[in-house]
Every structure is written in C-alpha cells, then in structure tokens.
C-alpha cells in the first residue's frame, strides 16, 4: 500500500511567479526509507510541508496528494496529527513544555487519550528511546541531541505511520547526529514506520535509505536507489554530486576516464561503493595484483615563519569559568600567522569555543599570556579589539540582527564608525561599503528582506557581512558550516579565500573535518583543554587514523598522505592510466 501518492503537484508561493514545486510525481510505499536531497532552496521543505495540512504553506496548488488513497485535504486533522509525524529542524523551537514527561504526553493529550493510555504509551516510548533516565528532568537540562531525540519520541508516542524529518540533524554535532540517524534507522527497521527525510549528512543517511530523490529548482530530477541515483548525478555532472558521500565521488571520478580493456571490464563488474567500508573494498579490488607507481603524495611543509611575526600568540594559558570548577583550558600554547586559515577541530566540550572566547578577550585567562599583534591582549581596550582587529561570527547568526531589513542591519553596524580623519562616515559612503560587502557575499538580492526570513545559510552570510563591515584583521568563526549544504560550503570557502588574499587571518572552530581538510592552512586537534597536534591538513589528517577525512579512511591501506577526494582520484588515475 502506498502511504503517499503525489500526482502532478505544482506549488507557487504568493507574490512569486516561479514555481516552488513543479510537476512532482511521487509514490511512497509503506515502510520505505526515503532520502530527499538537493541544494538549499530547491523545494525540499516546501514538498515536505505540503504532506501535512496544518504545516502546508499558503500558496497556489494544483495536482493531488493522496494519503493512503484519500486526498490529503479530506483526511481528518485528528488522523493527520497522529499518523503523519513531522520533526522540524531546530530542536529547541519544537519543544513546547518545560518537563520531559509533559512533552512526551503533549501530542497524546491533544488527541484526547485518557491518563492510563498516555501513561503506557510514554512509558513504552521512553524505554524504546532509552530516555527513562531523564524522564523527570526539566527540558533545559538536556543537550541538543537529547532535545531532538525527545522531539522524535514525543512524535513517535502518537504512533505515526509515516515520519517526516526536515534536516533534523543540522543543528547537532556529528556524534549526536549519527546517534539520531541510527535511531531513525531503528524506527524504520523495527517498527516499519515509513521515513521521509531531508539531510545534508548524506554519508550517514544514504547507506540507510531505500530510495534517494534528488530535487532541483522545484522538480524531481532523480528518483532511484542511492547507488543508481549517484551514478546518474555523476553522469549529469550535476552540482549536487559534490554533496554525495566521498566513496561515490571517488568512484564516479575514477571511472570517468579511458582505461585499458582489462581495467574497463573490471570496473564494470564492481559496484558503486557508498560507505567507507565499501570504498575500501572497491579500492582493494581495483588495485588487486597491481604494482603501484606512485604510492604517496608529497607532504607540504609548514612554511617557515621566521621572518613574519605571529599575529596571535598564546602562551601557557589556563582558564576556568569559576574558582570551584575544573579547568576548561589547560596550558594552551598556539601561534597563528597572518593570512592563515587556522582550523581547530575536536569533540564536543573540549574547550574549542572557550579558546576562541579567550582569543577575542571575552573571557580572560587566570594564568598565561595572550599576545595579539605583539601586544598583550589585556592592554587593549575592548573597543580597540572589536573595531578593527577582531571580527567574531557567532554560532547563532540571529544574535546579530537588529533591524527590519538586511540593508538596514548592515548600515546599523556602521553607526558612529569613523573614517581615517576621525569624522563620522556620511550615509553615501556607508551605503557604498554595504553594497561592496553585499557584492562579495552575494547577498545583493537579500538586502531588502527581513533577516529572519532568510534561510540558515543566507543568515550566516548576512551576519558575516555585518562582521566584515567592521574591517577585521582577524576573523574568528565558530562552526561556520553548521547547517550549510556541501554546495554552499564551496561558495563559502571562496569567500574566505578572497579574505585571505587581503591578508585577513581566519580562525575556524569546527566539527567539519572535511571542510578543514580541504581549505585549511593549518589544523589543530583540541582535546581536554589543550591542542594535541598542529600541522598542515595533509600531514595532520594522514597522521590520524580515526579523526580524519573519509577519503583518507577509505584509501589509507593503499595510499599514503591522502586527505581529500581530489588526492585519491589523482593517485588512482596516475596508477591506472597507461
């Protein structure tokens, strides 16, 4: 039986001529695990929201959506509430009440169940999700991952037939994200619930899913198994291909070349790998009984910095938030040179963000020295630090927006800023600078919009614009790629490159290993309040065995010093082509 049948569905938003969804035809069968992917703004969310009447956006619709054979609009609200579960992006915004148990019961209360039934249902759910230990807790005590799990459990308590998830892990750190996705898988396999999910983390989701649907500009362009879908994407040379898991990208790039007959036959026999494990096997098979011409890439060295002085120098720094609390930063020493993209990676709660706050002077160490541009940081006035030296982009870009439109917001930051002669900037000059920045960040089209109407990635860019208007020499970015899709990450990297060319120093704190490996000049691993190793990305990641990129993990048994997809493809081709 099909859960949803969508026939020739079109959708346009009010005051907007372009189709948000165009000619969508889709049949979703009971018990399937379906991943929908596509660039931001391709219509994924619009499609998902149209699958539940109360969440459906206003606009012009045509075509039909059937839920178990009945037009969705005719299905009672009560049945929709219970049978179609919908998990939204932000874990915090979805939680309504202050107690975990109350939140679990919320949906069941709406459906009008009696206390006895609710008691049983939430006990079941709490046990299934392993949340019985924090059942009585206040919601504010939970971590982000726990909160999203609570949202999921609260919806599962209503026993839905189909679970729709709209980028549920975009706000989570990698470890909780994987945990969350594992739970989704468990729901799918053990309860038979149909899953429809949109995700950026395709590396984890694709291996789980039965079908992958790729959307572009409101249309479904591919609807197939994950392997077939990615092969098709590769053939189409579609930008979304860059969002696919590493093994698929390597596979597609490698077979896209002329090889000897024997090799070609071999390639045709081997299937497209999705997981790292499959990728390893695939590489092993390809290079079975072959002698490698080149085994390792040359390592780049850290450029000697004898002549240049470090712009930031941290020496033996210790920090704790309170006298009675444990140290968060322990004996930290690091140096950052001008024009570098310095990446700090590491797990949750290791003190990365705190380190950033120490650099920017928000927190002050109780021991040790922080020297910024040759001067001890505590000799600067706050104003000096933040007008001209530092630009800090917070994790939550919404914490910067004040005004009604992006343009006003950008102008607002120039309020009372002075030119070189110490005079206030005239409005015209301010506008020029805003346009300049908007041009750099490609947000000209967004200038007249309300900051909160922008998507996550766009908000990030607008906030970055605000920070850049302060003309910082050092840019501190906290999890800048959180919630960005791979496609936009590339654009973002280009923006950072432009800044680096202007000799701006950039420090990034991130969970995103792939991003740091690809674009960083130096990477440091943070652990237990301290930097364990620092090196250039290729040395850094090829030295690690677990905390490293997927490309490295899938090829380390054959090649050496390989970090990015490009490296693997290069070595494969070098060794295969005659």
């Amino acid at each position: 039986m099909s859960v949803f049948i969508i026939n020739n569905f079109n959708f346009t938003y009010p005051l907007n001529e372009a189709f948000a969804l165009r000619d969508v035809n889709l049949t979703i069968d009971d018990g399937q695990f379906i991943t929908i992917c596509g660039k931001s703004g391709c219509g994924k969310t619009t499609l998902l929201r149209n699958l539940k009447s109360v969440l459906a956006p206003h606009g012009e619709k045509s075509g039909e959506i059937l839920f178990y054979g009945r037009p969705l609009a005719e299905v009672e609200q009560r049945q929709q509430a219970s049978k179609i579960g919908y998990v939204l992006q932000n874990p915090d915004n979805q939680i309504v009440t202050d107690k975990v148990w109350h939140e679990l019961a919320f949906g069941l209360e709406s459906l009008g169940y009696d206390t006895k039934t609710i008691r049983l249902r939430i006990a079941e759910m709490a046990s299934f999700f392993g949340i019985q230990n924090w059942f009585m807790k206040n919601v504010k005590e939970l971590s982000g991952g726990q909160k999203q799990l609570l949202n999921l459990a609260a919806i599962m308590a209503m026993q839905p037939d189909v679970l729709i998830l709209d980028e549920p892990t975009s706000q989570l750190d990698p470890i909780s994200a994987v945990d969350f996705l594992e739970t989704i898988k468990k729901i799918n396999t053990q309860l038979g619930t149909t899953i429809i999910i949109t995700e950026h983390r395709l590396e984890e989701v694709l291996p789980m899913s039965d079908r992958t649907i790729v959307m572009d500009k409101g249309e479904i362009i591919i609807d197939d198994t994950p392997k077939a879908a990615s092969e098709k994407l590769a053939k189409m040379n579609h930008p979304m291909f860059l969002a696919m898991p590493t093994p698929i990208q390597v596979y597609a790039d490698v077979i896209n070349e002329e090889y000897s007959v024997a090799d070609s036959i071999k390639f045709n026999k081997l299937k497209c790998p999705i997981t790292v494990k499959e990728g390893r096997n695939w590489l092993s098979n390809v290079f079975e009984d072959k002698i490698l011409k080149i085994k390792a890439l040359e390592k780049s060295e850290i450029k000697p910095h004898e002549k240049i002085k470090p712009v930031i120098k941290i020496k033996d720094v210790w920090f704790k938030y309170d006298k009675n609390e444990p140290d968060v930063i322990k004996d930290l020493t690091m140096e950052v040179f001008p024009g570098q993209l310095y990446c700090i990676v590491g797990g949750n709660g290791t003190g990365k963000t705190t380190a950033l706050s120490l650099i920017s002077g928000i927190n002050i160490p109780y021991r040790g020295k922080i020297i910024i541009k040759g001067k001890n940081s505590n000799q600067y006035k706050i104003k000096e630090l933040f007008k001209g030296i530092f630009g800090v982009l917070p994790q939550n870009p919404q914490s910067l927006f004040v005004e009604k439109t992006v343009r006003l917001d950008l102008l607002e930051i120039l309020h009372k800023s002075k030119n070189d002669e110490g005079e206030y900037l005239p409005l015209k000059e301010k506008e020029e600078r805003v346009n300049e920045i908007a041009d750099l960040l490609e947000i000209e089209d967004l200038l007249e919009m309300h900051p909160y109407d922008l998507s996550g990635g766009e908000q990030q860019r607008a906030a970055l614009g605000k920070v850049l208007l302060l003309d910082p020499e050092i840019l501190l970015l906290d999890e800048p790629t959180k919630g960005m899709d791979n496609f936009f990450k590339q654009k973002f990297a280009l923006i950072l490159k432009k800044l680096l060319e202007k000799n701006v120093t950039i420090i990034i704190v991130s969970h995103d290993i792939e991003f740091c490996a690809k674009y960083g000049d130096q990477c440091s691993l943070f652990f237990n309040g301290n930097i364990i190793t620092t090196n250039t990305p290729d040395k850094f990641f090829s030295g690690n065995s677990f905390y490293t990129t997927a490309a490295n993990r899938m090829s380390r048994h054959i090649f050496k010093n390989v970090v990015t997809i490009k490296d693997v493809v290069y070595l494969c081709k070098e060794n295969l082509v005659k």
Binding site: R78, Q94, S110, L111
Partner: protein
C-alpha cells in the same frame, strides 16, 4: 532536606496552604497566633535550613517591628493610655494590637515561603490543567521559554560584545544604547522563533477538540487518609471560629473568649493543622529508621 509533605498529592498541598494562609490572615487570638508562627517557622526552617533563618532575621524581623510601630502611631483607640506622642494618645491596646498584627504578618510571609518551596510550578500546572487548560499550558510554555531566553540573552550579549558593543564599558548613553539594542534583538528573536513552536504544536494536534490533561500524580490511599484528616480538622477549626471560640477584642479593652472544652478541642485541631507537615515528616523518619534496622536484619538473613 527531603520533605515528605511535598510528595503528597498536589491537591492536598494546595488545600493545606490555602487553609493555613487564609486562617492565618485573620485569627488573632494569642494562643492560635503563637501556634501558627511556631508551626510556620519550624516548617520553613525544615524546608530551607539556614537560608530561612537568615531571611527571617534580615527581612521578617524588621518588618514585624515596623508593622508593630506603625499601628499604635495611627490608631488611638483603646482605654489604657500609656503616654502621649505629639499630642496623640498612645494606648496599650493599640500597642498590643500592633504587635499581634506584626506577628500575623510574619505568619503569612512564613507560610508563603513554605508554599514557594512545596507548590512547585508543575504541581500548579497539574492542578489547573483541568480547569483552565489553555492558561496552564501558557504557564508551562513560559517556564520552558524563560531559561531559553536567558541562554539566548547571554549569547546575544557576547555576540554584541564581539562587535564592539559592550554594556559593561563606555559612557552611560552608549551602554544604554547597547542595552536597548540587546533587548530589541531578544524581542525579535523570541517572537520569530515562536512561529516554529506553533508549527510543532499544531503538528501534534493542538487545537483538536477534546484535549485531555495528563499528569504523573496519582491520588493514592496515603493521600486519602491525610485528606480526610485534614478536612476534619479544617471543619473543626471553622466551626470553632463560627462559635466564636477564637475571638479576641482589642478595643476598647482587650478581651478574649473564655477557655472551654470546645475551645481546647479547636485549639488542638489548629495545632495539628499547623504542624501537619512536620508531623508527617517525623512519622516517615521514624518508619525509615525502624525499617532500616529490620532491613539490616533481613540482609544478614539473606547473607547466611
């Protein structure tokens, strides 16, 4: 200190506090007043420990004195004139009356300090969830949003500091300007993010007819016993009031009603009400001690 009384059903907690606070507001008979203040004081110290003692000394005592002084200054009724203050007679009756009012004030404040500890928000939400469901949901949501608001406030504060807007430094006008900016950001943030909360609520069927109210509280046999006892005591005290057993007249001369058997019974009932939480706690401590001893024996039996 773990309070047993707080683990009883919320309805009992609520009725109890309504009773003691309302009774405390008008019973002025010295014996009753003393019982109430000792009961309320003991319970508040039991609940809050040192904090309560400090609060009582710093805040309550001066307030009591203030109330006791204000009354005779403006109230010149009474027969026994002690002295004149600025040509106004100060009477013994009004002084006594002032002191009693001060004690009564303290009793009410003390009961409220206990109430604040025992009647936690979720109990309140439970009690009113069935009568005023929408408002108690609002209450619950507000309690959920407040910590989020505070968290976000910190984030915004730091983010603004990082673009050179620090409330802790600069001229007064600048700091004011930055403070307003931050508050303004917070207003937008909370209004805008609430839209997704609304989605989440409607997605889970809020607004359908026939919403029920779930709770984790259960009215068990222990609650039945205590509620029966409590209601009987309340009836006794109220009938005593109706019979005038606790009346005291201050003006023109202080006069209390005679002590009779009935008034003794009413007094005992009031005593039991005021000390009910303490008594329940004592009983539990006693049982736990006894069980622990027999439990030790049991374990030794198993060990063999």
């Amino acid at each position: 200190m773990n309070d047993t009384f707080g683990t009883y059903h919320p309805i009992i907690n609520f009725i109890y506090f309504c009773t003691v606070i309302l009774l405390g507001m008008f019973i002025m008979h010295p014996i009753f007043l003393c019982t109430a203040i000792i009961g309320a004081f003991t319970y508040s110290v039991f609940l809050n420990g040192k904090k309560a003692v400090r609060f009582n000394l710093i805040f309550l005592l001066p307030m009591m004195v203030l109330v006791s002084i204000i009354n005779p200054l403006f109230n010149h009724r009474g027969m026994t004139i002690l002295f004149y203050f600025r040509d106004n007679p100060i009477t013994m009756e009004s002084i006594v009356y002032g002191i009693f009012t001060g004690i009564m004030f303290a009793v009410i404040i003390l009961w409220f300090s206990c109430y604040n500890e025992v009647m936690t928000s979720d109990k309140f939400i439970y009690l009113f969830g069935k009568i005023i469901p929408a408002l108690s949901l609002i209450f619950s949501m507000v309690l959920r949003f407040i910590p989020r608001f505070k968290e976000q406030l910190k984030i915004v504060y730091n983010a603004q500091k990082c673009i050179g807007r620090d409330i802790s430094s600069g001229t007064f006008l600048e700091r004011m300007y930055y403070g307003i900016k931050i508050f303004s950001i917070m207003i937008t943030w909370s209004l805008e993010n609430s839209i997704e909360t609304a989605d989440s609520m409607r997605s889970r069927g809020y607004g359908l007819r026939g919403r029920t109210s779930f709770s984790i509280y259960r009215f068990d046999s222990r609650d039945t016993v205590v509620s029966v006892v409590l209601i009987m005591l309340i009836i006794l005290v109220i009938s005593g009031i109706l019979l005038g057993e606790n009346s005291i007249i201050f003006f023109p001369l202080i006069k209390t009603s005679h002590i009779t058997i009935i008034s003794v019974i009413v007094f005992i009932a009031y005593f039991l009400i005021c000390f009910l939480p303490i008594i329940l706690n004592m009983i539990e401590i006693y049982i736990l001690k006894r069980n622990k001893k027999s439990g030790d024996l049991d374990v030794s039996v198993y060990n063999k």
